[in-house]
Structures are given as C-alpha cells and as structure tokens.
Amino acid sequence: MKLELRGITKRFGSLTANDHISLTVEPGEIHCILGENGAGKSTLMNVLYGLLPADEGEILLDDEVQHFEGPGEAMKAGIGMVHQHFMLIPVFTVAENVMLGHESTGFAGFLNLNEARKRVREISAQFGFDVDPDALIEDLPVGVQQRVEIIKALSRDAKVLVFDEPTAVLTPQETDELMTIMRQLRDAGTAIVFITHKLREVREVADRITVMRLGKVVGEASPTASNAELASLMVGRSVELTVQKQAARPGDPALQVRGLTVIDHIGQLVVNDVSFEVRAGEILAIAGVQGNGQTELTEALLGLQQHVEGEIELDGNPLSGLSVRNVLDAGVGFIPEDRNEDGLVAEFSIAENLMLDRSDSAPFVKGGTLQLGFRSTFAAEKVSEFDVRTQSIDTAVGTLSGGNQQKVVLARELSRDLRLLVAAQPTRGLDVGSIEFVHKRIVQARDSGIPVIVVSTELDEVDALADRIAVMYRGGIVGIVPGGTDRETLGIMMAGEQPDDPNGPAPDPHDDEGRSGTRGEAA
C-alpha cells in the first residue's frame, strides 16, 4: 500500500513538533527517517497511527484521504507500528500481549491461548529470537521486550509498517535478522518506515532516506552517502564519529568486587560468583549479549537487588549491604538500563528529575525546603549543557523525545560529585551528535580519576570507550581483556568460550568508516 503524508503539522502548545511535513512511502520501499533527538520523528509516526490528532495536513493510503479517529482505525486500514516506548502490558504474558486486540477465540469468547503461543513461536523462529510465550513482560529485560514489540507488530500482517527505533536494544545478530525480515516484507510489497540512529543500518536497508531537523524535513539523502555526510545532514554540523581519548592513567584499584552472586526471585543465579576490580581513572566495559547478568550486576552494585552474596568495596569502604541512599551518598552515579522504569519520574518536570537523587540535602534542599531558585538555575544550566531539546525546564519529562529523556538521566548523574560511575547502555536511543557528546563526558569522568563501568551490548561503544573489557556469559565473567581486543575474540567470549590467546589484542579487522574507530592504548 502506498502511504502519503501531506503537510502534516502538529503543535504542542507553542512548540511545533511537525511543521508541514510531506512524505511518500511507496509499496515495496524501505523509507528511513533520520533526525536528531527531538526532531519530531516519533510524533509524526504517532500522528500517522492515529495516536495524536494532526493540527493540519492529511494522510493518504493508496491516494485516498484517511480520517483516523484512533489507532484502531489506523490498524484496520493496514498500518502497523513498533513503538519506541513499548506498548506492552507488564502483567500480561508475551502471548497475551501479542493477541490483545485481535484475539482468536473459541466458544463464548474463550481465549485460544495455544493459537497465540503458536504464533509467537512461529514468528520468533523466523527471526532467531528466543521468546517464551508464557513469560510475563515485567520479568523480561528491555531487549526481550523489544523483540515482543516487534513480534506484536508482525503478527498482524500490516500493509504499512512503522519501526520506531526497533534496534536500540537488539544484538547485532538480531538486528541483521530484523533487516532481513524487513527486506522480505518489502519484497512482498509492504511499505516500511524505519527510524533509527544507527547509520550503518540506514545505509544497509534504506531505499530512500528523509532527514528531519527541528520538526521540518530538511532533505533527502542517498543510501550511498557516507556516515559523515549523513551525520552532518542530520545534526547540521560535522560530527566526530570517533572519540578522541588519551591513554588511561589508571591509579589504585578503587572498586573491588569479590565473589558477587545475585539470585533472582525464582532462584536463578543471574550473577554467578563474579570478581573484578576497576582502577581509578579507567573504564571497564562489560560486554555480552543482553540478559547474561549485566543488568543485575549493575543493580547489585547500587544495592537494588535483594539476594546478593559477596563483597563490593569502593575506595576500601564496603558498599554491599548498604541502602541505595547510602550507596548514592558514597558517590556512585548510576545510569540505569531502563530509563522509564528506573531513571525518571515521567510526570515530574525536567528540573525535578534533575534533583531526584539529591532531594535530601544541600544544595537543593536547605532546612527542609526546596531551593527553587537554585534548582531552576541548575536545571537551565544542565539543559543547555546537555542540549536537552525542550520548551522549558518545567516540561514533564514524559513528553520529551526518547533521546532527550536519556539526556536528562545522564545530566543528573554526570553532574554529581562522583566516586564511581556505573553506566548501563548510556547512549541507548541517542543521535550521533549526542553520542559524541556523552562519550566525551564519560571519558572526562574517567580522566578526573574515578573508576567507570560501562555496560553495553553495542560493540562499537565498547570499542570506543573501554580501557579493559569484561565479557559476561550466563552470569559469569568469561574473561577480562584489554580494550581494543578484536571483535572475533570478543564474539567467541560472548558465546562463553575462552579465546585461544586472550592477551593478544589483534588489530580489528572490521575497523572501517563506522563509528568503531578509537581505541585507547590501554592494553
């Protein structure tokens, strides 16, 4: 089906999120939309899907003007969508979420759950996903939730499919599978809109590329354009795709973890007897396929896990057993993997979110009262420093674009006086310009002499930041190798096997114009 948007305009108060946007997606075409965080991509898609009413403009399917009252009608017309902010019901199982809205039922409306389970299995098999149809969504890590969201959209045979940042938390292999599926669907005549910040994906599958900035379409790009060209078109300036960093000057061991074991609520050893240390002034990257214990490891460091054994010491003082408050007071900065769940209060304003973990002492609170003046100055400063695209510091965080929400979390954690920084997927959902900035800030934190842990499933990011790399597999650490270790070796380790020669950082055969460029000479 052919999709055409004509002069779509959407305003939120005085902010024009979409300014007369026109876009055509032909059947059998993958149309990528590129744009900075807050450019208005998701807003445009939500208008298309009937979630937001447009102020002006019209939507045409096969040259017929549509009037969608709500998502239900858009769906009936053949539009499907993978939402950036997952639309999954936490207390339902995977199968229930996938069937919701088009349930197959038997006598008297009885649910046919087996049918739904089968559908989930079929689609996951097609992708090489492993998703248990009976798992509760709330028990699943974000990476798996993303897969469920994709399965949900695919289970409905849409004629126009929108993918809003579906790959932010997928493994490279899954991303490849997804792109294969997208190509198959395209060849079968589906019109596909694909939004992503990862330039390599764009160049790989896009038939056409539209670039948006500040709510407007600023041009089309050719899929053969280089990363640098795409990046500068998007951000409006040239972007350094590789972080310049000095070699680390590691000091004494600052964080020491010995025999750490984390047991989840059903008794699994999600982190299994893990020991490592991080020196002051070095970045330890934790690599591994999502769901191998990285999340729980970082949560255990912060005191968020219930059943934890083993010792954690920071600068010689024990962290294990402390309350989260005390861990934070000990100077631990934490960027959680799931910002909506653990990082932000959606209904609170930006200014409030920026002081969220410092609400009990100066400078934000004095004598039991909030220092509103200080808070405003502080928030204004951070918003401009971190380039949070917002109308004001009093905007509710929930209405910010995905990438800008992430920036608020980063701004809060990086502006504290830290003794340790734990960052899980710090650049999830950020545009290339923001990634550049955040990487610089993380390196800056390292150079100020604190230990840094970066958890990332993105090898590019591991490569760009790590002084040393610990690879996790099934809750344990397979090995710790120097930064710059080649991807082949890391890949082997991520599958749980010991590489033949863990000490020899071979040159990276996959180094190319992608953003994998930098390596420290930390090895």
Partner: protein, 431 residues
C-alpha cells in the same frame, strides 16, 4: 562497509542459569506467632467446663447429634497441635522450597475450632454451628456482590468507592418496585437498574470529565444516602404497605444437595439471589482470565495507552464495565430488602460497601480470593452475634474490628505482594 556484524556473536539463545532456592520465611513466622497467641489465650487464660456444639438440620437435611467436649483438655490438645504444626513448618521450609497452602489452611481451621471451643467454654449455652455458618453466608452475600463489582470496576481502571451507594440504591429501588408490583422478580430487575444508574454517574464524572474517582465515589455515596433517606421519610413512611412491603424471595432448595447435613441448609437451601451469586463468582472469574472480554478489560486497567494502540476503545470498555459492575452490586443490594429483611430502612447497608472494598483489596483484585475474603468477613461479623448469644467473654467490638485488622495486615504485605491494577484510578487522557 559491507560486513555489518560479526556472525561469531552469539544469538540470544536460551540462557540457562544455575538455580538455587530462595526461601520466604513469612509462613513459619506467621504460624509461630499465631501458635504463641493460642498458647497465651487458650492455655494461660484457659477456661474450664464443657463446650457444646450443635448441628441443627434444615427443612430437608437431618440434624446431627450434638458434640460435648471438655473445654480445657480440647484447647490444650488443639493448641499443642498448632504449636507442633508451626514447628513442623520450619522444618518443611528448610527441607522443601515452601510450605504448601493446604498446610496453612489446615492450621487456620484448627485455630478457628480451638477459638470456638475456648470462646463457648465454661458451660455456656451450646454453640449452633449451622446457624453460625448460615448467618455467615447471609452476611457475606452483599459483600460478595460488592466485591465482584469492585473487582470488575477496578480491573478496568476505575476505583469504585461507590459500592456502598450502589448497594443502597439497589436495596431501595428493589423494595419499592417489588412492593408496588408485588413481584420479586421485577424487584430484582429494579435493583440492577438502580446499580447501573449509580454507575452512570461514576462513569460520567470519572471517565468523561476526569474527576478524581475517589472523590466522585464518596460524593455518590453521600448523595444516595441522602436521597434514600429523604424518600424513605417523606414518601415510603407515608404509605408503607403500598411502597415498602415487598414480598420476600422464596427459598429454592436444590434437590439432593440440600439434604446434606449442615452444608445443605447453609449453601443449597437459599433464594435465587444466592444461586445467582454462585454463578456470578464463577462467571466473573472465568470471564476475567479466560475470555476476550476479560483480557481487554484488564488491559485498559493496566496500561490504557497500550490497549488503545491495539485498537481497543478504552473509554467505551471502561464505561460498560463500570456499568456492569454497578449491575452486579445493585443486585447484591436487593438481598437486603428482598432476601433478608423484607422492607427498606434508612442507611440499611450501614457501611457494608466499604467492607466489600476491603475484600477486593484483601482478595488482591481476584474474584475468587475476594469472595473468600468476603466470606471471612461475613464469618467474623456473624461470630460476634453468635458468641454474644451464647454468652462468651469475647468483647463483640473485638470481632467487629476483625475485617479491618485483617485488611490492614493484608495491605501491609502479609499475604504476599499486593498490587492493584496499574492504571486504576487514573483517567485516560489522550493528547
């Protein structure tokens, strides 16, 4: 750039982890505290003499012989049993992963028997078990209807404080219509209509105009109370024989089942409204968890936006389910006037809607658990009347307090993690 990824990177294959057992010591701790309490109550403050239990039959079921037991000895034996079971539960947990539910249930049953033996000891009048249970079921009927309505409404995302008002409106209209027409059946229909009408007010303000649901609910309760009081004193009282003298629902004994001693008269020699209640409990349970209706209802109560994105009409789903809840609660209201008392009187629900609400929470928003909670509350209320009648030393205020204490313990996490529907109480506002 041609190659994009390393295919050496493993796929998200099933991650198999080592397992261990995480134990919760809550059950043994609770059992031990209760056992300790029993020792203090039943042994330290022991009572002498004999305790007599009677098991009267019904119109169809035969009576069982009465049971006379020595109070002190029985209490000591039962308390010892409780203490042993509490001790054994520690061992069970150490040995196996958890203490089974049936174990706790048996424990609770023994405790109740011990309590009754103790409370009716010292040669007081005999304790009539059949009427104790029958009364418990009767008192539970409005609680159960109310709780079912509460479960449906809250599961769809609308807090239903108005249960009290719906019960009262149902009781009132049922009495008036049945009395005027002389037909109990029309009375039942009228009760349903009354409940739905009250729901409309709740739905309109809460869903359409986004008014705080708790406030709307409280206002509705006050409104219904005021209106029924007004009509009662100004209209019904003037011509009570025409307006407030409804026929009672006839008892319909179920052949066979009603002949079982004790259980027969308690459960199977009841009026239609009680049988409708049995059906409603089962239907709501099955409907909620096994049908499309239930899946959609729960989805709008948990995450309305997600439901919206798959084409479910959130506002409509909420509206109709709140109305359905009103219909069920209204029917429960009819039990006051057509099932037990036989006429309407001022404020005759007397806050029972709030106890139903407590049952919803204690029952963790599950129709079966909420029904059990309602039965427990009904039992506690009736125990107070029965014990007062046999001349027991237990202060009646203590037993009256029981439902609320139990609910507070439940909400404080004693029955496990209690969590309501995520979007309950939150209006769905589309931008």
């Amino acid at each position: 750039m041609t190659t994009t990824t390393d295919h050496t990177i493993p796929d998200a294959a099933p991650i198999v982890l080592e397992k261990t057992v995480v134990k919760s010591w809550k059950t043994p701790i609770t059992l031990s505290i209760v056992a300790l309490l029993s020792i203090v109550l039943f042994i330290v403050f022991r009572r002498g003499g004999d305790t007599t239990f009677t098991f009267a039959g019904g119109r169809i079921a035969p009576s069982l012989p009465q049971l006379v037991v020595p109070t002190t000895l029985t209490c000591v034996i039962l308390t010892t049993l409780l203490a042993a079971m509490a001790a054994l539960s520690w061992w069970l947990l150490a040995r196996f992963a958890k203490v089974p539910l049936w174990y706790s249930s048996v424990f609770a049953f023994i405790f109740v028997v011990a309590f009754l033996t103790w409370a009716a000891g010292d040669n007081s009048r005999p304790l009539p078990i059949t009427s104790l249970l029958l009364g418990a079921v009767s008192l539970s009927v409005p609680y159960i209807f109310g709780a079912l309505g509460g479960v449906i409404s809250e599961r769809s995302g609308v807090v239903n404080i108005a249960i009290e008002g719906q019960l009262l409106a149902g009781a009132f209209l049922a009495a008036v219509v049945a009395s005027m027409t002389g037909s109990v059946w029309l009375g039942l229909v009228a009760a349903v209509v009354a409940g739905v009408l009250v729901s409309f007010i709740l739905a309109a303000f809460a869903i359409k105009y986004y008014v705080d649901q708790v406030i709307v609910g409280v206002v509705i309760n006050v409104l219904v109370l005021g209106l029924t009081n007004f009509f009662y004193s100004q209209v019904l009282a003037k011509d009570a024989s025409f307006l407030n003298d409804p026929p009672l629902l006839p008892s319909l004994p179920i052949p066979g089942l009603s002949a079982i001693p004790v259980i027969g008269p308690v459960l199977f020699d009841q009026s239609i409204i009680v049988y409708l209640m049995y059906i409603a409990v089962a239907a709501v349970y099955i409907g909620l968890f096994h049908t499309r209706w239930g899946l959609r209802l729960r989805s709008v109560g948990e995450h309305p936006q997600a439901a919206d994105t798959v084409g479910i009409n959130v506002t409509g789903t909420r509206f109709w389910n709140v109305s359905l809840a009103g219909a069920i609660v209204g029917l429960g209201g009819a039990y006051f006037t057509l099932g037990s008392v036989g006429s309407f009187s001022e404020d005759m629900t007397g806050g029972q809607g709030y106890i139903a609400l407590a049952a919803v929470i204690f029952g963790r928003w599950d129709p079966i658990r909420a029904t059990l909670a309602a039965l427990l509350f009904g039992f506690a209320s009736n125990l107070q009347y029965t014990l007062a009648a046999v001349g027991s030393p237990v202060p009646s205020e203590f037993l009256l307090m029981l439902p609320y204490v139990v609910t507070i313990l439940a909400v404080a996490g004693f029955v496990g993690y209690v969590r309501g529907p995520a979007a309950s109480g939150k209006p769905y506002i589309k931008s």
